[in-house]
Each structure stands twice: as C-alpha cells, then as structure tokens.
Assembly symmetry: C2
Homo-oligomer: 344 residues x 2
DNA sequence: TTGTAGGCGTTATCAG
DNA sequence: CTGATAACGCCTACAA
C-alpha cells in the first residue's frame, strides 16, 4: 500500500511539531484550542491511526491482555475449550470489555510454565487471565511475573496472591442438592472431577452437597461419589455407565457441569432409563443448550458472559493501577428448575 | 521486576556488539562458530527473550494474525460465537498452527468496516481471517487492505480476491438429502438462513438438496423451505413451531446446522412428536454434542479443527509469501448416520 | 503554548 | 567476520 501515515505526516500537514500532535492525541492539556483543531483536522484528513506497536515500545505497555489455556498432550488447546461453551462465552464477555477499553485479547495454549512466561515477555502483555485447570507449578512460576494476573475459579493458597473471579461454588452445590432433597430424593449421586486438594472448586460444591444432606439429617454415602477425569461429554457418558452398574439405589444425580449431564443422560437413555422418570438430574453452569435439551436441564446457573466482563474489568483496573491489592469477586449462582428433576 | 534484559545486555555479556547478537538470533550466517557459541550462552544465562514489539517495529511485521467476528447490536460478539461450538473448534485449530509457527492470534468483534481497518493498522496485523457472516460492504472495504486475507465459507464475487477455505457445501446438501431420500422420504423440509444471493453457502447446500430430489424425480416444494434468521438454538426452536403448524405432510427435515436441529427437536418434542419416529432429521457440522444427544443426531460432518488448521496455515503461507495468488481449499464432508433418521 | 531531541528494543546498512 | 549507527513510530523530559 501507499506509505504508512505517521505522526510526522500529521505534524507536517498541520504545520506543527510531532510533539504537539502527540499532545493532542494523548489529551495533554497544554495546547491551544486553535492548533488542536488544526491537528485534529489533519488527523482526520490523512486518516491517521496511531501505531500501537510504536506506542507499546515507547510507553512500555502493549494494551494487550493474554488468556492462557491448558494444552493437552496433542499440543492443541484442551478440547474442553471446544466442547464446553462455557469457555467461549467467557471469552465473549472478556472481549467485550477489553475492546471497549482499547485493549486486545491474545489467546494461547501453554504447555510448560516457561512457555507462557516467554509469551508474556515477548509480547509485553499487560495482564494475564488464567482460565481452566493448570498444574500447581504454573502458579508458582507466576510469582516471578510482574504483571497483574486474574485467576478464574481458583482457590488454593497461591490464589491469594492474585486477583480472583469466582462464583459461590458452595452455595451452588447446596442449592442443587437442596432442590433434590426438597423433591424427596435421598439417594443422590455427586459427580465431579476428583476431589483432591488441587480441585477446590468441586470441593466447595461438595461441601454444599454435604451441607444440604446434613440439614435433612442425611449423611454422605461414599458409594454415591463418582469421579470423572475431565469435564467432557465423553467422560460424562462413561460415568453414566458406571452409575448404571451401581447395584444400590440411586434416584438423583448432581453433576458439576452441564455437558457432563448431557453425557450421563445419553448413557442412561441407552440403558433404557428415562430422565426425570427414573433419575432426576441437575447440572451446573447453565450453558445455552441446557434449556434446549429434552428434557430441558435443571441446573445451577451462573452468568458466564458477565464473569468474562468482570474478569476483564478487574484486570484492566489492575493494569491501570486502579486497584493494587489482590481483589476477589464472588459472583452469584442461582437454581434454574427445568424438566430434568422431579418429585420422587 | 528487575530491568528488562535487552539485546544490549546480551552483547555486553558476550563481549560482542548488538549487531552480532542480532545476527546469531536471526541465523544470519556470517558469524564464527566461536562467537556464536558465546552469544548463545549469554542468551541462555541471562534468559534473554527478544521483544516482539521492538521486532515488529523494526521488521514491520507483527507475527500477529487477526480473527474478526461480526458484532451484534448489543456490541458484543455475536452470541452465535458462543452457542455454536463450531467457532471455538475452529479457533482451536487455528491457534494450534499459529502458535507452532510463532504467530499469535488476536480475536475481535467488529462493527463498522472502519473498525477493523483501524484494528489492523494500529496493531500491524500480518494477516486476517474473517469468520462468520458479514455485510457486503465489509468485503468491499477489504480491498483497500494490503495484508493477506482468508475468508471462511465465503463465495460471492468478492471472495475471488482473497484466500478461501470452505467445505463442499453442495455435496453436503446432496449427501444429506440423498440419505433421506434413500430412506424413503419424499416430504423433506429444507431449513436454513434465507437463501439470498448473499448467502452462497446455504444456496450451495440447497443446490445439493435439489439435485438429490431431482435424481429421484422429485421437485422442490416451496412450502417445505423454511428460513431462519440466525443460526441459533432459539431460531431452531422457533422454526420448529412453524414446521409443526404446517398443514401438509412432512416426514423429514434437513437443517443446515446441528444447533438448529437441537432447537427444532425441542420444539417437536413439546408438540408430542418424536424423532425419528415422527420426523427424521439431519443436521450439518457434526459438532461434538451431536453424538450425545438423544437421539444422536445424523449429520453432515466436517472437520472443523482441521479447517482452522488449514486456514491458519494458508494465511501464514500467504503472509510469508509462500503463495501469492488467491488460493481456495475445499475440504471434504461426509455423512454420519446416527439415530435421528430412519426409514419411513 | 510549542518544539527539539533522546530513548524504547530491534534490525539493517555500511564500513572496517 | 564484526561493529557503529541510522532507522522503525511514538512519547516525553527539557528548552525555548
């Protein structure tokens, strides 16, 4: 294309110095209305667009935020990104705020901890968002970073050092289980990824599960805890089989992700079981397809788009030093009753 | 953090000039093995990571690729991005190649055509991918751009000027309809976004639909063409109602997106109709949930991840001038028979 | 109120 | 083979 239009061109066109142009662009308030006008006009006429790369170099801030995902063995972003609309909805919210604040979002899968440190430094990212699961050492490595970091759905010791956006997981677990209990269920499965110390989210939900049971003088039956490896349709399907194989009584299932519920229901159906006739099932997240399934899924709803917005805003605030200390936001959840649960 | 480590530090540490360091980094083959070694060592010791921002400025290439999405009225990326896993899967494939080639991906929604031109210039994007629907004028505007552009699923006059990644839409339409015809269906609905001249993808699919019918001496019945506004669950649901209201006979439905099929099935179910007992239905895309629905969805499958990979590779090739003329890749589709269709 | 000039980290053009 | 040094486009003291 034709020569790139630089600040110099604008300056020449307006008959002022580059500094002056820079001043009006950056709103430095020491240029007369008169020249300001001239400069603005020149900018418009030449269709001048400031070069962010140059600005980055000069100001040492890129106006770029990074979102990192876990990589799976194949080297591509975990397919959970794809299967679970949760992630894209989050990104959508994030993109919304960032764009409106002049930031751009970079998305990258990361393997070794060194990968993303490299990524951050080489791209001069202003801030980072960690979405999805990560091995512990990633967080340890993070401490050596000097940019603001927002963690999504993380608890753990390390989380204290960063900004956190989460939902009220325990309450979610409680609401779900309570709903089932209120419908008369007593044999309620809890399905989630393994409840290790590294999985606080599901531990919280489990706590809610337990609390609801206890309130009704029930206790947790270890046999009813089923664990999946990953939050995927396939894993839901597989755990569904396991549930079918269980010899004891089960009348309801609380599962910590809607897409898992989908897989489970598939399994049940294949075994000739119907939801909610034979099993009541409640999910978590309220992704959009949940209301379009048959039966429509009862679930714990969280506003994922908004979560992305809040995460983005928090990160931007941190980058621009509006906030200094680690900030934690707990977003609400609510019960959405649809067709997959019924009175026993 | 501590001072950023620059090429100068490396030079000093290795006892050479910055130029020399730059040479070894860029593989300019005119530096002795000896000094090369020293430089490499210094780089490792100091954990030096070249600054892409500076490189961008100097080399005039950012190693960043942009993916643009249509914005909806609310100002956020069309929720179709969220609802349809198609998009995230594409992104996943794209991210995979780009990352392995040292590129990063920027994602942005664009409103006015000027928005994305601005975006491209200010970020010095090396290449652009247009995903999803866009108004015509966007493509006209594109002509003034000087970076390679890859269009996804576009035909139209304008498409000739850019690189194109598509699938064999006509064959997809044909395969789907043929499958239905083979099962004895004669009253087959065609559900898609409006078949205007600006919607070549669905026109192609419609062509395939028509061809399959014609082959069996049937002709298109205009009454069986249903059009939706957007490819969303909600629109599928709504069109399902319309189909229910139709007074004539319908035994099968071919719909141009799996998520639409989901919505339609929901509608049918609410009207007491069963799939495939009362209606056979076939979708398009083969997103992951399709095989986990009940009934599992028969559909036309395309390898979306691979589509992202091919798109990314094509764009990178174009950026690096491996290809000069507009290149078009047509990816294959295939029929995946599951449970949502049956012999009449 | 405006302009000059040095610097941001890198590459690239010349000399040596 | 190696090293100064001027770009790249912008910002920002410091001067004027």
């Amino acid at each position: 294309m034709n020569q790139k239009i630089t600040i110099r061109d604008v300056a020449r066109h307006a008959g002022v110095s580059v500094a002056t142009v820079s001043y009006v662009i950056n709103g430095v308030n020491r240029v007369s209305e008169d020249t300001k006008e001239r400069v603005l006009e020149a900018i418009k006429e030449l269709e001048y667009r400031p070069d962010f790369t140059a600005i980055s170099l000069s100001k040492k801030q890129s106006k770029m935020l990074g979102v990192m995902f876990e990589l799976e063995e194949s080297g591509s972003i975990s397919s959970i990104f794809y299967e679970n609309p949760y992630n894209s909805e989050f990104i959508r919210g994030l993109e919304f705020v960032t764009r409106n604040n002049g930031y751009d979002v970079l998305i990258s899968g990361v393997g070794k901890p060194d990968d993303y440190k490299n990524w951050i430094t080489k791209r001069n990212l202003d801030g980072l968002i960690a979405l999805g699961p990560f091995p512990q050492n990633v967080f340890k490595e993070m401490e050596t970073l000097s940019i603001p970091i927002v963690l999504i759905d993380k608890y753990g010791e390390y989380a204290k050092k960063y900004h956190n956006i989460r939902i009220d997981d325990e309450r979610g677990g409680y609401l779900a289980t309570k709903h089932l209990v209120d419908q008369g269920h007593t044999r309620i499965c809890f399905v989630s990824p393994k409840l290790t110390i590294h999985n606080p989210v599901d531990n919280k939900r489990f706590l809610g599960y337990k609390k609801a049971l206890n309130e009704s003088n029930m206790s947790v039956d270890e046999n009813l805890i089923f664990e999946i490896k990953a939050t995927s349709l396939e894993d839901g399907y597989e755990i569904g089989k396991k549930i079918m194989e269980y010899s004891g009584e089960i009348t309801a299932i609380f599962v910590t992700a809607d897409i898992l519920a989908l897989g489970i229901i598939k399994s049940l159906n294949e075994h000739g079981k119907k939801v909610p006739k034979d099993y009541s099932i409640i999910g978590f997240d309220n992704i959009s397809i949940s209301s379009y399934m048959t039966p429509a899924l009862t679930t714990i709803s969280q506003d994922i788009f908004n979560k992305g917005v809040v995460a983005g805003q928090t990160l931007i605030d941190a980058v621009e030093e509006q906030i200094s200390h680690p900030k934690t936001v707990n977003l609400p959840v609510k019960l959405v009753v649809r067709e997959s649960t019924k009175k026993i």
